[in-house]
């Protein structure tokens, strides 16, 4: 029998019907077919016009009433307080401490999906917004006037949120990098970072106003709010209502720095996958050079990781800009700046797809911990059992390797097809002739195929 000694090959999944790389080919074919179908059948923009159907005034009044908003805000503040307390006073073991799973898995991974499905659900529970609004109301009650805020510099746009997003992921993936546990960060560091971030956010809210800062600078509001633009539920003029799914996204990226937020989201997820996969050798090589140059072990590792994380950001930005640059060559194209801003929202479904594909299994497994032993014993001291679930554990047989793989492939394909739909619709708004619009999208098709293949390559490497 012929024996193939694939010593360093990616381990093929024995129970997959075809090799993993063929899924990338299949996904690319799905994208090309979708592109052709869009070019033929979709000839007028449908997302530019805001179709808004408000729900009954009574429902909106009830859901947006200040007592309910205050209650949600209080819940948010309480949960943040529990997480910080657990981080400071609880066990040092990251996988036994409530803080890390709650902050980096339940909230960081849960809210994007929840927001895409149900709208901006983080907004009422945002603890900093709740405190900021309460402080503003207190000021009004005492001083008898609204607090005077500085005008937010328009040029800053969402750049503070983009940088903050990179910083949050850096804290988890680079600063807390350690193998063997879901989130490797020291709980005390996470709690301290949460306190520092709270102080910074409240200071910014005092300067620019709570709502203004949440719209532009507050990392979590901007990040989760970005995903909420994909969904069909929203709030407009004090009324809750439904809109055409994806349509709100087309108006999201108009502020400067919005493209950087969505690019940072894709890049950091890609880096998280690549740092333990294809980039591992290169990172180790830079690490060795830094150590040889006299840098300490931990700073050298963090420096090398930081460098590659920034390179991932630059790489994703470059692929997007190449796509946009290509569109510029089509007859009747708007300016490069308009194209760059105009197509940034098409990356939002891709960012969500990357997030789901990369963290789906982690989320399913860690949430079992969250709602069993971490909930009953948040400090991880093994002395409390608040809800009688402290002896619970994670059932790793809940998902098979195949099920995880199919969810990953499915989410990547769906996310990129939605990206193509958004891009095609925007092109129809920019080019009066639908043939020119379709032609301009050749480039976005190449971008989507590139991101799909990259995502599947990273996943096949991780799972291999």
């Amino acid at each position: 029998m012929t024996w193939l000694p694939l010593a360093h090959a990616l381990a093929a999944r024995q129970d997959l019907p075809i090799p993993a790389w063929l899924f990338a080919w299949g996904a690319s074919i799905v994208l090309i077919v979708s592109f052709v179908a869009l070019s033929v059948a979709w000839r007028k923009p449908r997302f530019e016009e805001a179709r808004w159907h408000p729900f009954g005034a009574r429902l909106s009044r009830a859901l947006l009433s200040w007592p309910l908003q205050a209650l949600c805000g209080l819940i948010g503040v309480f949960l943040l307080g529990v997480a910080v307390y657990a981080g400071l006073r609880g066990t040092e073991a990251p996988d036994r401490n409530f803080a890390l799973t709650f902050l980096f898995v339940t909230c960081w991974l849960g809210f994007p999906v929840l927001s895409a499905l149900l709208g901006d659900v983080f907004r009422p529970f945002n603890p900093w917004r709740a405190v900021g609004r309460a402080a503003g109301a207190g000021f009004r009650a005492i001083a008898g006037q609204r607090p005077a805020h500085l005008a937010y510099p328009a040029r800053l746009g969402r750049w503070p949120a983009a940088i903050g997003l990179l910083a949050v992921v850096w804290l988890e993936v680079v600063h807390g990098a350690s193998g063997g546990v879901a989130v490797g960060l020291d709980p005390e560091t996470a709690a301290t970072a949460a306190l520092l971030y709270s102080a910074y956010t409240l200071a910014m809210m005092a300067l620019f106003g709570a709502e203004e800062w949440c719209e532009r600078g507050e990392v979590f509001s901007v990040y989760f709010g970005m995903f909420s633009q994909l969904g069909w539920l929203g709030v407009k003029g004090g009324r809750i209502g439904r809109r055409r799914p994806l349509s709100a996204a087309s108006r999201w990226a108009t502020l400067p720095g919005s493209a950087a937020v969505v690019i940072a989201s894709i890049a950091t997820t890609a880096f998280d996958g690549a740092s333990e996969g294809p980039l591992k050798g290169a990172i180790e090589s830079v690490f060795d050079r830094l150590v040889d140059a006299g840098v300490g072990l931990t700073p050298a590792l963090r420096l090398a990781d930081t460098l590659f994380m920034l390179l991932c950001f630059a790489g994703v930005a470059l692929v997007y800009l190449l796509g946009v640059r290509g569109m510029r060559t089509v007859h009747g194209a708007p300016s490069l700046a308009k194209l760059r801003v105009g197509f940034a929202h098409t990356l939002i479904p891709i960012a969500l797809a990357y997030l789901v594909a990369h963290y789906f299994s982690l989320f399913v497994f860690q949430e079992q911990a969250q709602f069993t032993y971490l909930l009953s014993d948040p400090l991880g001291t093994a002395t409390t059992d608040l809800f009688g679930t402290a002896s619970g554990g994670i059932d790793f047989t809940l998902l098979s390797a195949n099920a995880i793989w199919y969810v990953q492939v499915g989410s990547l394909v769906v996310g990129h097809v939605l990206g193509l739909v958004l891009a095609h619709d925007r092109a129809l708004a920019f080019w009066p002739d639908y043939r020119d619009a379709s032609r301009s999208q050749y480039w976005m098709l190449a971008v989507m195929v590139a991101f799909t293949c990259l995502g599947l390559y990273l996943l096949s490497y991780e799972n291999g």
């Binding site: 012929t2 193939l4 090959a9 990338a24 080919w25 690319s28 098709l445 293949c453 096949s460």
Partner: protein, 43 residues
């Protein structure tokens, strides 16, 4: 018999790049054809 493919795994990424290259080549070819057609129409 043993095939000497011990390090083939290092080059598996090529299989993921191929669809991107095919799409990119298709785009370039279409654009060149279009440009040529326009030039011929003008002439």
């Amino acid at each position: 018999m043993m095939l000497p493919v011990a390090h083939v795994g290092h080059y598996l990424w090529v299989l993921y790049v191929i669809p991107v290259l095919i799409v990119a080549a298709g785009i370039v070819r279409t654009l060149l054809l279009e440009r040529r057609r326009r030039r011929e129409e003008r002439d």
